[in-house]
Symmetry: C2
DNA sequence: TTGAAAGCGCTAACAG
DNA sequence: CTGTTAGCGCTTTCAA
C-alpha cells in the first residue's frame, strides 16, 4: 500500500523504464516507442499517477480560490459573515481559503506575501485595516480585494454607519422612556483589527445629546473583551448610583453577557433595565434581545459576489456599499 | 543584461541573506526577524520577484493546506467545531480550505476529485458518511483523513456515544423528578449528512425504560429542521394531553427554540417544564440552558492535531477517539 | 534567528 | 529510441 503520492520514479520502476522515458511519454514527445508508451501509460493508470505540477499549474484563467482574512471566527458576527460568504460562493465554483490572523505582524505577512504567490484570485478582508502601502502592493500584483468594515476607495468595500448605529440605539432607548444610560464596549483592540466600539459610543452620545441627555463617565465602561471581563463590566456599571435603566452594548455578545448578569441580580427586563445590543446575530434572536441589525450574512454574501464578479471581469466598476442599519426591537427594551 | 525572471537566489543576494531566509519570509514563517523580513520584501519589490509555484510545490514535503468538508456552518455546533479546528491549526503553519457541501452529488464530487488534485495534505470530514468505495479511493491516493461524528477504522476518527447521550438526558431528567417526557428531533436528514437524531432518541428511550418510564409516540416529534418547524414541533408537543414536564431536544438549537415557545406560553422553566439540549454550545450557556456537552471545540482541535501529526509522519498509528459526554446542568432543568 | 547543504519531482542535455 | 546525469528554483533538515 502506497502512502505517498506516486511520482514518475514510481511509474518508471513499475513500467521498468527510466524516469526520462516516463517524462517523455507524459509530455507527448514523439521520441517514444509505442510499446513503451503503452507500458508507461499502464503503470500510470495502475498507480493513479497525476503529475504534481499539472495539479496546480492548470493553465486556468484563475485558480478558483478566494481567501478570507479575519481575526478569528470565535464570535457570532464573524461566523454570520462567513456564512454569507459561503452562500455567495454559491455552488463551489470557487473554493474558500481561510486565514485567521492573530497579530499585526502576521497580517502584514499575509498581505505582502499572498499576492505574490498567485494562488488566490481574490481576498476578502474582514475588519482588517489597510494602509496606503498595503493597498498599493495588493493593487500592483493585481489582487482583487473586498473590504468589510473598512472603506477603501481603491477596492470594493462593504460598510455600515457605526456612528449612526449608536444614534439609533440612543433614539430607541429614549423613545422607550429611558433616562439613565450606560455603555459597555471594548477597548485595547489590537491594531490589526478595525476598532468600532468608540465610534458606536460616540454616536450613542450624540444621539443622547440630541435628546437632551448626558452620559457621565461613570456610565461608560470599556475593556478588552473576554466573557469574564464583560461580566465584571456589567456588575460595575449596574452598581453605579443611581443605577442605569438602559444599557447599550457594543456587540450582541456583550449584550448577552449583560443580560445574564442582570437576570442573576433579579432585575426585570425591560422594566428595571433595558438592554440593546449591536449586530443582529441569531444569538440576539434566541435571547429575545433588541439589537441594531447590521445585516451580517448579507455583507458576506455581497462581498463574495462582488469579488467574484471582479475576478471574472477585472474592469468592473468598484462598488463601495453602505448597508442599512435597523433596530430590531424585541423583549429586552 | 539578463532577461531571466528573478529567483530567490537573486532576492537573497540583493537582500544580503541566504535563500533559506527568503524562502521563510515568502512563506510567512514566524522564524524571521522583522527587520530581515523587511529587507527581503524590499528586495522582492525591487526585483519584481514572483515565486515559482511549481518549484515550490515540487520541493515541498506537503502543500500546507488542510481541507474541511462540512454540510454548512449555519449551526453553532459546526461553528464551534471549526473554531476548534482553527485553534488546532495553530499558528498558520497550515492553511484552511473550507468545502461546504449541499448534497450527495457534491460530496461525492469533492471526495473523488480532491485526492487527485493534490492541493490538500489532508481532510477533515464533519458529519459526512463515508462508504467503502470512497474510503478506498481516499486511501489509494494517500489522502490523510480524520472523520468527525463518523467512525471509520481506516482513518482517524472522533466520535461521541450518542446512544449514551440519550441515556444521560433521561437519567438527568428522572433525577430531577420529571415523569412525562418528550423528545423533539430531526428526520429526513439528507443522505450526505450523518444522522444522529434517532440514536439519541433511542438512548433516551432506553434510559427512561431503565427508570421504568415510557415514551408514547405522541411525545415524540421528528421533522426536517427549520426554525419555524421547531416552533411548530414545540407547540404541538406542548399541546399533548397530559402535557409533558420535560423535553429532550436533539440539539441546542432545537432546545433554544423550544425554550422560546415555552416562555411565550408563560410556562415557568424549569418548574412547569424542563428542557435539556444537546451539544454544549455557547448558545446553551447564554440561555442558561442544561445541555449534554459533547466537547465541540475540543473535537475540532483534536481532529486538526491528529491530521497534522499524520501528515507529518504518515505511519503514525490511527486514533479512534471517543470523547466523553457530560451533562452541564443549568437553569432549564 | 540564521545558513549550508541535501533533497524534491521533473526536464533537458548528451551519450550510447 | 533510451538511459545517465546535471541542473531547475524552492523547501527542509540540522547545526550553529
Amino acid at each position: 500500500m502506497k502512502i505517498r503520492a506516486p511520482t514518475i520514479y514510481d511509474v518508471a520502476k513499475k513500467a521498468g523504464v527510466s524516469i526520462t522515458t516516463v517524462s517523455r511519454v507524459l509530455n507527448n514527445s514523439r521520441l517514444a516507442n509505442d510499446a513503451t508508451r503503452r507500458r508507461v501509460m499502464h503503470a500510470v493508470g495502475q498507480l493513479g499517477f497525476v503529475p504534481k505540477a499539472d495539479a496546480s499549474l492548470r493553465a486556468r484563467k484563475h485558480v478558483g480560490i478566494v481567501g478570507v482574512v479575519l481575526p478569528f471566527f470565535t464570535s457570532p458576527s464573524y461566523v454570520q459573515r462567513m456564512r454569507g460568504v459561503a452562500a455567495g460562493l454559491n455552488g463551489g465554483e470557487f473554493e474558500l481559503a481561510v486565514y485567521t490572523v492573530k497579530d499585526r505582524a502576521q497580517l502584514d505577512g499575509y498581505l505582502s506575501v499572498l499576492p505574490l504567490w498567485r494562488r488566490l484570485d481574490g481576498l476578502i478582508l474582514m475588519s482588517m485595516p489597510l494602509d496606503a502601502k498595503r493597498t498599493a502592493h495588493l493593487q500592483a500584483h493585481g489582487m482583487e480585494v473586498v473590504c468589510i468594515e473598512f472603506g477603501n476607495p481603491q477596492f470594493c468595500s462593504i460598510e455600515v454607519d457605526n456612528l449612526e448605529g449608536g444614534k439609533m440605539a440612543a433614539r430607541h432607548l429614549i423613545e422607550r422612556g429611558r433616562r439613565r444610560f450606560a455603555f459597555i464596549g471594548e477597548t485595547g483592540i489590537p491594531d490589526h483589527i478595525v476598532h468600532l466600539s468608540d465610534l458606536r459610543l460616540q454616536g450613542f452620545v450624540q444621539g443622547m445629546q440630541a435628546g437632551g441627555i448626558d452620559l457621565p463617565e461613570a456610565y461608560i465602561s470599556r475593556r478588552p473583551y473576554s466573557r469574564e471581563g464583560v461580566v465584571e463590566q456589567a456588575t460595575e456599571i449596574l452598581d453605579v448610583e443611581p443605577s442605569p435603566d438602559a444599557v447599550f452594548a457594543y456587540s450582541d455578545l456583550h449584550a448577552a453577557e449583560i443580560l445574564k448578569v442582570a437576570r442573576r441580580r433579579g432585575l426585570r427586563i425591560p422594566e428595571d433595565l433595558s438592554i440593546i445590543g449591536f449586530d443582529g446575530t441569531d444569538l440576539a434572536d434566541y435571547l429575545n434581545m433588541t439589537t441594531i441589525d447590521q445585516q451580517l450574512d448579507e455583507s458576506g454574501r455581497l462581498a463574495a459576489e462582488q469579488l467574484i464578479s471582479r475576478i471574472r471581469e477585472h474592469g468592473r466598476p468598484l462598488q463601495n456599499i453602505r448597508l442599512q442599519l435597523n433596530v430590531i426591537a424585541r423583549g429586552s427594551t
